[in-house]
């Protein structure tokens, strides 16, 4: 192991090591539950900082793990969102009586899996990353014992996830059979039918993780049942990891141009199906969490629009993912502020009167989710659409904008529910979670008005 290797895996080490530290410390010390979540958040922040400080450099372990601009960027995003989710958890674990140390450790493990998936240099590491990302999530999903059917959705998630990872693994095997290599770079030579079949299976496996329709069926249930901070975490980190891997694989597949067209066509079709079905499904939801779940599936569709545009759109994808992360953490964060973990829209009545600041923040977040200016959500959509138009996907863009109108309908329902008169669920007092929500909303506005730095930063996302 060289210093280069260490540099490449430093953020990973911080995350996985942090998980171990939390577990061990929990055995040794008796501390307030909240401490563990806070400690985990600190490790996540440390991972992000590590990635930021070390920056891109030479790959580690013979290119098994990449240390390019993309890895660094996604490490920062994953670290920051994990930290945000764990901060949400600080005020959440105690009333929910969750085993804080284990939850924190699992979250950090999963985050390291996401990072592994995002920076994998070969398919085996990607597969391990996928599993490391998923397995803690299966457990986290079922953790909220009293919640509606937590065990049911945990089981569903697990069974579907197991089948999907089998598909992904089979894809790797087919690639290996057709190219005698599992390096991601070798996908370019997988031009025989067997190799192409492998690529198709890789795509299916990642589409599952990214929750693209029709691979999305686990997502609404899992999102609703999981403890809300975990929902926020999995909605962000799983997608970041999956899309990073999709980009990486896509870059290799489209590099020689042989299969580039197929890759883009497949993703364009997946994007179209996802956009239409997810937005339609979100329309009639009465549960806020479920609505947001479908909304996050729909957002995967928007990202996928850019993925379909090819590697040139990596900046757009990165930008969208960052914005999406802030929006999602913020929106689910609002739920952690309510005393009911699965509020209906009616439960939001009167919230504007009782917690005006929260509603303003939620309003900003919803505007961002709907892609309305002056939020960063708008710029993210513009960026994605520009990439897609540049790739001659005008039809997809038109579909996407029309679907964003449909999405506005359900986001506004949420906003208007908050504005409605009535006695909904009582909200908890000010908390760290509230701070996270407000911060997310603030970030969305600030980036919407001063997008320059972030736009410059995503230019560094190169593979």
């Amino acid at each position: 192991m060289t210093v280069y290797d260490l540099g490449a895996i430093a953020p990973l080490l911080v995350l996985a090591g942090g998980a171990c530290v939390v577990l061990l410390a929990d055995l040794v010390f008796r501390a307030d539950e909240r401490v563990w979540a806070g400690l985990g958040a600190a490790f996540a922040v440390a991972a992000a900082v590590t990635a930021l400080v070390l920056g891109p450099g030479d790959d580690g372990f013979g290119s098994e793990i990449r240390r390019d601009g993309a890895s660094v960027f996604f490490a920062i995003v994953i670290g920051a969102s994990t930290a945000a989710a764990l901060l949400l958890a600080i005020g959440y674990v105690a009333p929910a009586r969750l085993p804080a140390a284990e939850v924190t450790a699992l979250t950090l493990f999963s985050a390291s899996g996401g990072l592994l998936l995002a920076s994998a240099g070969d398919l085996l590491v990607a597969f391990i990353g996928l599993e490391l990302l998923s397995i803690p999530l299966y457990a986290l999903t079922g953790l909220l014992h009293g919640a509606r059917h937590a065990d049911e959705s945990s089981l569903k998630y697990f069974l579907l996830g197991a089948a999907a990872s089998a598909v992904f693994a089979y894809g790797i095997a087919l690639i290996y059979a057709s190219t005698d290599s599992i390096a991601i770079g070798s996908l370019a030579s997988a031009t025989s039918p067997i190799g192409l079949a492998g690529i198709a299976f890789l795509l299916a496996g990642l589409a599952f993780k990214a929750a693209l329709v029709p691979f999305h069926f686990w997502a609404p249930d899992a999102y609703v049942s999981a403890p809300t901070p975990a929902t926020a975490f999995m909605a962000v980190v799983a997608k970041v990891g999956a899309f990073a891997a999709l980009l990486r694989i896509g870059g290799a597949v489209t590099a020689p141009g042989v299969a580039g067209l197929d890759w883009r066509a497949s993703l364009a079709v997946l994007a179209a199906i996802t956009l239409v079905l997810a937005n339609l499904a979100a329309l009639g939801q009465s549960s806020l969490k479920r609505l947001l779940a479908y909304s996050s599936i729909a957002h995967a569709g928007y990202i996928c629009v850019a993925v379909a545009a090819g590697v040139v759109a990596s900046g757009a994808i990165a930008f969208y993912l960052v914005v999406y992360a802030a929006l999602t953490v913020g929106a689910f964060g609002v739920i952690t502020l309510l005393s009911n973990d699965d509020p209906t829209l009616d439960d939001l009545h009167g919230l504007a009167r009782r917690r005006p600041l929260v509603v303003i923040a939620l309003g900003v977040l919803l505007l961002g989710l709907a892609g309305l200016p002056p939020t960063a959500g708008f710029l993210a959509k513009v960026y994605v659409f520009e990439a897609a138009i540049g790739a001659r996907l005008a039809w997809l863009v038109i579909l996407a904008v029309l679907m964003s109108v449909v999405s506005a309908a359900y986001y506004l329902r949420v906003l208007f529910a908050c504005l409605a008169e009535g006695e909904g669920e009582p909200a908890r007092g000010p908390s760290i979670g509230g701070g996270v929500v407000v911060l997310a909303a603030l970030a969305i506005i600030v980036v919407g008005i001063v997008p320059g730095p972030l736009l410059d930063a995503v230019q560094s996302v190169r593979f």
Partner: protein, 591 residues
């Protein structure tokens, strides 16, 4: 400067009254209004003085208006329009003076006098505008003021409706007028009259302008608003009929004659002739003394159209002015009668007023003489001029003469029924003479009606337009004889009170203007309403709104279906997942 003053004074009067009239007494308001008009009249006389001294035209440039070539706030007065300006200001000042007592108990005096002054301003704009657009502005404002004044008694639904009707019919003409301006502007890129007169006339534009003139002057087939306009206070009728409104069409034809296509002008003459005879016959059948006068106006304007149409500008202008005198006298007389009899309008319930209201009778008689064109009243000379001009058009001449006869007949009938026949009601028996402030203008106008024709014929009052023709003696004699005969017949027949000469049903049809109103109601108004209803309940509700509902429904329905697909069974999800993977696989590997 003086010219600007003439036009601006009535406007200033209107503005002052509108803004501050609320705090002033009724008579003071009336005095302000009258004063403004009188001053304008004085200024007009001053201009006349200048013209008599040999000045050709007078132009007042007051600034820009619309960003169109020629569409500036510029006034222009020439020998043709000068008499009109004098007449308009003078007669309306008298009418305004008359109104002070007439409106003595009306709470709406403020808006009445404001509108009256505005009315005069608008008419002066028509007369003195230097471009089509400014002329049109006056044109529309005249319509607006007529609406305001006709609907003066706004609590009365009939009056309110009559006002709306007047405005609407006028707007039909205005729309045509507008399009006419568009045509002219599109062709010549200017609306300045002095520039346009040098251009060849356009047939379409001429026809459209004529439609405008027909509506404003209540000529066939757009005459329907005028009889209903009687719902306004009687001085308003005097104003509309004599000075300010209905003659605007004739003014238009006279002023724009160089712009108008020859064919259109002859059409105007034909329409005028037809209207003249038609309206005279209808007037014969009226039972309401104001309505007789209203129809008579339509008829007389028709004669002016004949004159203007056949190019006899002098004749038309002459008749316009003399008509202004005698019609103003008649209407104010009519108002005096109403004042005397508690607003009794039905001639069959009047009678015998000659003894009870002698001065009114006298003035009315002068007016009636003018209307009947019995020498030496003004109407005789002016009508003779029209007839003389029509000599070249035998058909028109016949109609003009026939109209004269019928006119004299109904004038005689009117006078006989109201003043000579035995009093037929309590109101008639209890009639009393009007106050002096009403009588004075009435008598002035009556005198005018009597002598104006002589003065003009003698050349004492120059009209500024050349073209007086020496009527053949035979024609003069014939027309005078027809007039006298007609009037005598009318007096003789109705000396003793109302009687039926033609079958009642026929008389009734004639009285109702040969049912043209009903025809319009059935053929225009009803379809219009149906169309609006069809659009409201049909296209708007069923197509425009429903189509949006339909899209919303489809999207919502799609949501329901999609949510149903999420049925809860993990095996179905697995099947979907694997099936999608198979599809992807097939797409990728089977090429």
């Amino acid at each position: 400067m003086t010219l600007a003053l003439v036009v601006a004074l009535p406007l200033a009067g209107a503005i002052v009254i509108a803004l501050f009239g609320g705090r002033l007494s009724r008579s003071l308001i009336g005095l302000i209004a009258t004063g403004a008009l009188a001053l304008a009249f004085g200024a007009a006389l001053a201009i006349a003085q200048a013209f008599a001294a040999g000045k050709g035209t007078l132009v007042a440039e007051l600034g820009p208006w619309l960003p169109i070539r020629g569409a500036d706030l510029t006034l222009r007065i020439d020998p043709l329009t000068l008499p009109l300006v004098v007449m308009v200001t003078g007669i309306s000042a008298l009418i305004c003076l008359y109104s002070i007592d007439y409106l003595g108990h009306d709470t709406g005096a403020q808006r009445y006098f404001a509108a009256l002054d505005l009315f005069v301003f608008a008419m002066l704009l028509i007369v003195a505008a230097s471009n089509l657009l400014l002329l049109f502005a006056g044109w529309e404002l005249v319509g607006l003021c007529s609406y305001l004044l006709i609907a003066h008694y706004r609590e009365r639904p009939v009056a309110a409706s009559a006002g709306v009707k007047a405005f609407l019919v006028n707007r039909v003409g205005d729309a045509a007028f507008l399009v006419g301006i568009f045509v002219i502007f599109a062709s010549f890129h200017t609306v300045a009259l002095d520039e346009l007169t040098t251009r060849p006339p356009l047939l379409a534009a001429s026809a459209l302008l004529l439609v405008g003139a027909l509506a404003k002057s209540a000529q066939l087939p757009l005459h329907v608003w005028l009889p209903d306009a009687m719902e306004g206070p009687t001085p308003v009728s005097a104003l509309i009929h004599a000075a300010t409104m209905v003659t605007a069409g004739v003014v238009l034809l006279l002023r724009l004659a160089p712009l108008l296509h020859g064919d259109v002008l002859s059409d105007a003459a034909v329409i005028g002739a037809a209207t003249a005879l038609f309206a005279a016959i209808v007037a014969l059948a009226q039972t309401d003394h104001k309505r007789v006068l209203a129809w008579s106006t339509i008829s007389q304007i028709g004669l002016m159209f004949v004159g203007a149409g056949i190019g006899a500008a002098f004749a038309a202008l002459f008749h316009l002015l003399s008509h202004a005198f005698f019609k103003a006298a008649l209407f104010l007389g009519s108002g005096s009668v109403m004042h005397a009899t508690d607003d009794e309008l039905d001639m069959r319930r009047l009678g015998g007023l000659a003894r009870r209201t002698p001065l009114t009778t006298l003035a009315f008689a002068c007016g009636a003489l003018g209307l009947a064109a019995i020498p030496p009243a003004a109407g005789f000379f002016s009508k003779e001029q029209i007839a003389a001009a029509a000599l070249a058009h035998p058909a028109l001449l016949v109609v003009v003469l026939a109209t004269s006869a019928v006119t004299a007949l109904y004038a005689g009938r009117l006078f006989a029924l109201v003043f000579i026949a035995p009093a037929a009601s309590e109101q008639a028996r209890g009639a009393h003479e009007s106050p002096p402030l009403m009588l004075a203008p009435l008598l002035v106008l009556a005198a005018g009606a009597l002598v104006f024709g002589l003065l003009v014929s003698a050349g004492a009052v120059p009209l500024g337009v050349a073209g007086a023709t020496e009527a053949p003696l035979a024609l003069s004699v014939t027309s005078a004889a027809l007039a006298v005969a007609g009037a005598a017949l009318g007096l003789a027949l109705f000396w003793r009170g109302p009687r039926s000469i033609v079958p009642l049903s026929l008389a009734d049809v004639a009285r109702r203007g040969f049912l043209i109103d009903d025809l319009y109601a059935a053929a225009l108004v009803a379809p219009f309403r149906s169309l609006a209803r069809l659009l409201d309940t049909g296209s708007e509700a069923l197509v425009v709104q429903r189509s949006v509902d339909a899209v919303a429904w489809i999207v919502g329905r799609g949501g329901v279906i999609v949510r149903r697909a999420q049925g809860g069974y993990v095996r179905v999800y697995e099947a979907m997942l694997l099936a999608a993977a198979v599809v992807l696989l097939a797409y990728w590997s089977l090429r």
